[in-house]
């Protein structure tokens, strides 16, 4: 039979358990940098891996079909909104900027889908980060 006092130390915060304030900061930060890692660090293995696979695949497909990645100094309000979406992908955005990916102009309709894929991947990662925070705060099992 499991010892409840031991479980509290070894298991991540579950619904109804007291919030872990350190994890409430660390999980969203890591989850932003690496999609799904906020769940993995709290031992939600399947959820974390599914989030990682979905968000990384979406971003990678967007890049592979020649989508455009927005920069912070776009000037146009729509470019700024695109940047806000892209930056949600965290490490993926930083890596692709460092490698110079996603800078070619969009020349066909499917490439524009690629741009949207990367923006939505970033926005989905924001949702994933919020979910990791809720798990750490004990609001979600």
């Amino acid at each position: 039979m499991a010892n409840p006092s031991t479980d509290k130390k070894t298991l991540p915060a579950a619904a109804g358990q007291p919030a872990n304030s350190t994890m409430a900061v660390v999980a969203p930060a890591i989850g932003w940098l690496v999609p799904g890692a906020g769940h993995l660090i709290q031992k939600r293995w399947i959820r974390g891996l599914l989030l990682l696979a979905s968000i990384v695949a979406m971003f990678a497909i967007g890049l592979a079909i020649n989508g455009h990645i927005y920069r912070p100094n776009g000037g146009d309000i729509l470019d700024i909104l695109g940047f806000v979406g892209d930056i949600g992908a965290g490490g993926l955005y930083i890596f692709s900027q460092a490698m110079g990916y996603g800078q070619s102009p969009v020349s066909h309709a499917v490439a524009d889908y690629g741009t949207k894929f990367m923006i939505v991947a970033g926005l989905l990662n924001f949702i994933s980060v919020a979910d990791a925070y809720h798990i750490a705060m004990g609001k979600k099992p």
Binding site: L51, S54, I61, L63, G102, S104, A109, K116, I127
Partner: protein
């Protein structure tokens, strides 16, 4: 980066629906069963929306 992947519009829409549904299912529900059901529901809504929009555009084109 040169284009290395050629997707049709429909395939792109299906992939979008799949990935978005997985994330919505996991983040918007609390139990694995509810997550799976909600993910399926979102996927069906996305794909249904694609077909509805396709038929609407076909009607408008006539």
């Amino acid at each position: 980066m040169n284009q290395s992947l050629a997707l049709s519009h429909f395939t792109a829409a299906l992939l979008f629906a799949l990935f978005a549904s997985v994330v919505f299912g996991i983040t918007q529900r609390n139990t694995p069963r509810d997550m799976f059901r909600y993910g399926l529901y979102c996927f069906a809504m996305f794909v249904g929306g694609v077909f509805a929009a396709g038929w609407l555009m076909w009607l408008l084109r006539r």
